[in-house]
């Protein structure tokens, strides 16, 4: 246990400890920075104090919601902990697991990779020197780093820039070693390249490229074509133009909607994200995702895969953390991408609605699973607005390095600090939310992916009736909660009165 901050659940009650030749002990399990402690909190029973460094391996099992962790120690002892609650058990397990990952400060001065944050998570067995070498082999110095760890089966999503193989098939032993270090023995992984094979091949002429299977024999490469830059920007311009054109007839509307290709991009991005999630959850395989720079389509895929896989990323705080981690810290160049929107004629090369496409994809999943998200559509719209124009510093700059130089933390307010005020949060909270701990698989059939009216038709039609419907929905749920509270109070009152009566009655 290197980092106390990684302890997600420091304490669990009603844990049962089984040791050979000892009676089972029920007590409270505590995790500290160095120890795992189990105490029944009674004077005469022995407490278990186990150094994290003594843990050699762990196994976890589930029967219903009861989890069992078997800890195998370096001194050959084997003990068993029964932990009620799946979530608690997974948290404990992931905290004490002899981590295969470490935090690296190699990029402290943004010297290795200007678009990475100072701290990144990398395989434990790879030292900073190797990382520096790998960085020279990856576009923009973006060496493979951990993006997501799937607690359920320990599989991971990594992301990076393209390998700089060039035309002569350059290779980098450290790179191969790094990504192989993420695989369990005998396991294969998948590399999802967000470019078509053709585009990836063309990239070699410019010094880029893709992983040759010969050099990465444990990995299978999958190409998923997601468009970039001006193609996306043009798509947005066409879509907004179509939405604003009130003169044309039905056929022209559909034809313009189709010609904008916006929904095609949505479908492509979502499909790639679903595939990534499927590799992790269903295939039990780790994946590496990259396109060219690893700052656009890569991030769309890694972040959407997390929405699908990780229930926490569907909560408000979890989603904020996702944006912070997978977009801001990961170096999506917001300044460049969001400099102009759909109406500007002076086209620069770097604008692209990459983030908006991501938000649209989230909305599509939200529409298909309306009860599984803690936030509502307004939250996504708000993020869209702030990415393009904001009084807060959060989305300024192109990466962490730029934000540091601009001293944004000292000079500006954070969007999150404003959004997370209770008064603001209530506007963004989905009244239908019920925590759903499952993986959610969206449909990517065209029939299931409509136009996001809340964004694109927002100023072209009155939303009065839809707003009223939302209000009505909130009222129905609020009234229910109110009654629930009232009933609970009365029940308690009644119970108290009745015991009182009972006491009076008994002599």
């Amino acid at each position: 246990m290197e980092f106390a901050e990684l302890i997600k659940t420091p304490r669990v009650d009603n844990v049962v400890l089984h040791r050979p030749f000892y009676p089972a002990v029920e007590g409270t399990l505590c995790l500290t920075g160095h120890h795992l402690i189990l105490s029944s909190r009674q004077d005469n029973t022995e407490e278990l104090w186990l150094l994290h460094s003594n843990i050699d391996a762990i196994d976890k099992r589930f029967v219903g919601s009861l989890g069992t962790i078997i800890i195998k120690c370096k001194d050959f002892r084997i003990i068993q902990l029964d932990i009620p609650g799946m979530e608690e058990c997974l948290n404990i397990a992931s905290s004490i697991e002899t981590s295969e990952w470490r935090l690296s400060y190699v990029n402290k001065e943004f010297a290795v990779c200007p678009s990475y944050p100072p701290i990144v998570t990398v395989p434990k067995s790879i030292d900073d020197e190797a990382l520096r070498k790998v960085a020279t082999f990856r576009h923009g110095g973006r060496f493979p780093v951990l993006s997501y760890y799937h607690k359920k089966n320990g599989m991971v999503i990594m992301r990076s820039g393209q390998p700089l193989t060039g035309t002569n098939g350059r290779r980098c032993k450290e790179d191969e070693k790094l990504i192989n270090a993420t695989l369990r023995a005998g396991k294969r992984g998948y590399i999802i390249d967000t470019r078509s094979l053709n585009v990836a091949q063309q990239a070699r002429a410019k010094g880029g490229g893709f992983e040759q299977e010969a050099h990465y024999p444990q990995w299978r490469r999958i190409h998923k074509s997601i468009e970039r830059y001006h193609i996306l920007q043009e798509s947005l311009i066409k879509l907004v133009e179509a939405c604003n054109d009130q003169t044309h007839n039905m056929d022209r509307w559909l034809s313009k909607l189709e010609a904008s290709n916006w929904l095609t991009h949505i479908k492509e991005i979502l499909t790639a994200a679903c595939l990534a999630a499927q590799c992790i959850d269903r295939e039990g395989a780790s994946i590496l995702i990259h396109g060219t720079e690893g700052t656009d389509s890569t991030l769309q895929v890694t972040s959407l895969a997390q929405i699908i896989l990780e229930p926490r990323s569907r909560t408000i705080r979890g989603f904020e953390a996702l944006i912070e981690r997978e977009w801001l810290q990961a170096g999506h160049p917001f300044q460049q991408r969001c400099a102009q929107s759909a109406y500007c004629n002076t086209k620069q090369k770097w604008e692209a609605p990459v983030f908006l496409l991501f938000l649209d994809c989230v909305w599509q999943i939200l529409r298909q699973f309306p009860c599984s998200f803690e936030f509502n559509e307004n939250f996504l719209i708000m993020l869209f607005e702030h990415a393009y124009a904001s009084q807060f510093g959060t989305f300024l700059g192109n990466n962490e390095s730029e934000r540091c130089k601009l001293k944004l933390q000292q000079k500006t307010m954070s969007l999150w600090s404003w959004v997370n005020q209770p008064g603001e949060l209530s506007k963004f909270t989905n009244p239908l939310f019920e925590a759903n701990n499952l993986v959610i698989w969206p449909s990517v059939a065209p029939q299931s992916l409509p136009l996001w009216e809340g964004i694109f038709l927002r100023w072209n039609r009155s939303s009065k009736y839809l707003d009223e419907a939302y209000e009505e929905m909130v009222n129905i749920i609020e009234y229910n909660k109110e009654l629930q509270a009232k009933v609970n109070i009365l029940r308690r009152q009644l119970a108290e009165l009745e015991t009182e009566n009972g006491m009076q009655e008994s002599p």
Binding site: I222, Q246, H248, N249, M250, D251, R252, W253, L254, S255, E258, T264, K267, C274, A277, Q278, R282, R367, Q368, F369, P370, C371, E434, N436, L438, V439, I440, W441, S443, V444, A445, P446, Q447, S448, L449, P450, L451, E453, N460, R461, S462, Y465, L466, E468, A469, E472, M473, I476, I477, N480, L483, K486, V487, L490, L494, A495, L497, E498, N501, E505
Partner: protein
């Protein structure tokens, strides 16, 4: 039964449309009324029931190594693909179904054998649930401008009209008969809807037999009478719902449209809606798009545009909006017609009425609207929906389009309708199912001759009995959206009209949202009601105890039963939440069966509170154990009517995996 060449075929495979590699092995049964597929799998014994009357086309495809494929397309947009091992069996099933799906006599239809175990009295009550005389009374009729006419007693003037008709008081029998002779199929102008607030009305008829120059004094007087019945306006709109070109072409055949010069004080208006043949082809094209296997977004949008379907839906809506505005804003009466006045006219009158009158947006009011504008006024259900074997060129999705218009409105005005999407879908299903007598035949006259009400049951009673399933939780009688006219924007908002996947892809459950907001809110409301009751009871008891305490008497009372707060089940666990084929044609992607942990399947929480309103689950929970002894009775027997969907069982969580 004599048409069934083979009642049972074993080792048939039912192909999963989403992942064709996965097919369920089972036995196929042909009964007098249904095709039934029963899976062999002992855990589920999942049953798929298809009514013969739902079968639209049957296609025998080329025999392959695995057997002989049979593709059945249904009128409720279900598609079933079977693979039958022996070519001969397949042929027998094919030939049997061809015949069974095209009955030649009304008596062969399901409603004549369907028996929901109701006694005679209940059946009769079912038929009087929707009463048109009451409806005209509700509109405020008769009054000093409109009267009930007995001119069509015994269908003497027009055999496709009902006997009870409202006409202007000043229209004498002479005028009516004269006018009827000047109208196609003698469908003279009669009242469809009367707008109490300003006395304007919507009247309907067929086209006039004007040719190039013919006139008819009585017909002109008839229109005058309609105008006079609305003292607030000095003119009448005449809306011809055909494209102008079609109407002009009709003149050559001695039919046509009103000449403004001959009729005093009319404003003539074309609002082009295409004819039944165009609509039939349009639906066909759209369904081809829905049927595409993993289409690209462009394939889909291009196909949707090319089908023209949404353009036609918009045309119908535009006509309805025009009329509603004319009536409510200009206070003018409107006469609507097309050619015969039983297709487009029915669509447009009912859309306009729905916009004008909140009553039609309630459950019962909507039934009344269909009863009035469609059933009573002689919409040719038998021909349009192919209930009996007939001319395929007569078939057209006319009422389907109206039902879709209602759905499009529901999307725009989520609080305005008392009923939900499921209600519309079930009505659509039963228009084709022939399980109830309501939609039989082409006219009231035919239905009376067939004694439908004595021999069959009414759908309205069935829907009304199960109304809890059809309620829109957002509807509140005192909400502003439920008052008065629905106002749609005047700008041409094409984007308002959307593809209705809940209807046309409704059997592809994976494509639908996996959690239903409607069901969630209904569950909340149900719990709210229980809480209200409990609260009242608790308050009462508390008061009592406090009183008793004041009196210093000692009472013993029982601990209250804590009512459990159950989670709301929002998702139907029949929907397998499994990944789709996201890999495209990635041939080499491994296809390994995952552990069938049901963590991902049952989406949410407790099942205790699951109110299974999905037709898959509801009516069929009490299936008969075996299918061998199937009579032609309702498959569910008992007091339940058979479900309208044929999927009999919950899909288990079968992981649809990457098809390699």
């Amino acid at each position: 039964m004599e048409h069934i060449r083979t009642p049972k075929v074993e080792n048939v495979r039912l192909v999963d449309r989403v992942s064709p590699k996965k097919a369920a092995l089972g036995t196929l049964y042909l009964t007098a009324t249904h095709v039934i597929f029963v899976e062999n799998s002992p855990d589920t014994r999942k049953e798929t029931w298809i009514l013969h009357s739902q079968i639209s086309t049957i296609e025998k495809q080329a025999t392959t190594a695995t057997g002989c494929p049979l593709l059945i397309r249904c009128k409720n947009f279900q598609i079933i693909q079977l693979i039958i091992p022996q070519e001969r069996d397949c042929h027998d099933v094919y030939i049997s179904l061809i015949r069974l799906a095209r009955p030649v006599k009304y008596e062969e239809l399901y409603c004549f054998s369907f028996n929901p175990m109701l006694d005679k009295e209940e059946r009769e009550q079912g038929w009087v649930l929707i009463d048109l005389s009451e409806e005209y009374k509700r509109m405020g009729l008769p009054n000093h401008h409109w009267q009930l006419s007995d001119v069509n007693r015994d269908y003497r003037v027009c055999d496709s009209y009902p006997t009870e008709l409202y006409v202007p008081k000043s229209a004498t029998a002479h005028i009516i008969v004269g006018s009827s002779k000047f109208r196609s199929r003698r469908r003279f102008p009669v009242l469809s809807y009367y707008y109490k607030d300003n006395h304007a009305s919507i009247c309907r008829s067929s086209q006039p037999l004007s040719g190039f120059s013919a006139r008819c004094l009585e017909d002109e007087q008839m229109l005058q009478a309609i105008r006079k019945a609305n003292p607030g306006s000095d003119f009448v709109y005449v809306v011809d719902t055909r494209p102008k070109l079609n109407a002009m072409a009709n003149r050559a055949a001695g039919k046509g449209y009103e000449n403004e010069d001959n009729y005093s004080n009319i404003k003539f208006q074309f609002i082009g809606i295409e004819n039944i043949h165009v609509m039939r082809n349009s639906l066909q094209k759209m369904l081809e798009v829905c049927e595409l296997k993993s289409p690209s977004m462009s394939d889909f949008l291009w196909g949707l545009e090319n089908s023209g379907w949404l353009r036609h839906i918009k045309a119908i809506m535009d006509a309805g909006i025009f009329i509603a505005k004319a009536v409510s804003e200009e206070g003018a009466s409107v006469l609507v017609h097309c050619s015969d006045g039983w297709d487009r006219t029915a669509q447009v009158c009912s859309v306009a009425s729905l916009l004008l009158d909140p009553h039609y947006r309630t459950l019962k009011g909507f039934m009344v609207l269909i009863e009035k504008d469609w059933i009573s006024f002689g919409h040719k259900f038998n021909h349009r929906y192919g209930n009996l074997d007939g001319d395929p060129k007569e078939v057209s999705p006319v009422i389907d389009q109206f039902i879709e218009c209602v759905w499009q409105l529901m999307e725009q005005f989520p609080c305005a309708f008392e009923f939900n999407e499921r209600f519309l879908i079930h009505i659509q299903h039963h228009i084709y199912s022939c399980q109830f007598g309501n939609f039989l035949c082409n006219s009231q006259k035919e239905r009376r001759e067939l004694k439908i009400q004595e021999r069959t049951y009414s759908l309205w009673a069935h829907l009304w009995k199960n109304r809890a399933d059809y309620l829109n939780p957002l509807f509140r009688a005192d909400h502003s959206q439920t008052q008065g006219t629905l106002h749609l924007p005047t700008a041409p908002c094409n984007f308002m009209y959307k593809f209705w996947s809940g209807m046309y892809n409704r059997f592809e459950k994976g494509m639908q949202p996996r959690q239903s907001v409607t069901d969630y809110l209904m569950a909340v409301k149900e719990e709210t009601q229980q809480l209200e009751e409990e609260l009242e009871a608790l308050e009462e008891r508390l008061e009592k105890i406090q009183k008793v305490q004041l009196n210093c008497t000692k009472v013993k009372s029982k601990q209250s039963e804590p009512s459990k707060h159950s989670g709301f089940s929002t998702s139907d666990n029949s929907i397998a939440n499994t990944p789709q084929d996201y890999s495209g044609n990635m041939k080499s992607f491994p296809s390994r069966s995952p552990s069938q942990g049901d963590e991902d399947s049952a989406l949410i929480l407790t099942q205790d509170n699951l109110k299974s309103s999905d037709p898959d689950l509801s009516a069929n929970s009490d299936q008969e154990s075996g299918v061998e002894d199937l009579s032609c009775r309702s498959p569910s027997g008992g007091e339940h009517a058979p479900s309208e969907d044929s999927g009999k069982d919950r899909d288990s969580d079968e992981a649809v995996f990457l098809t390699a």
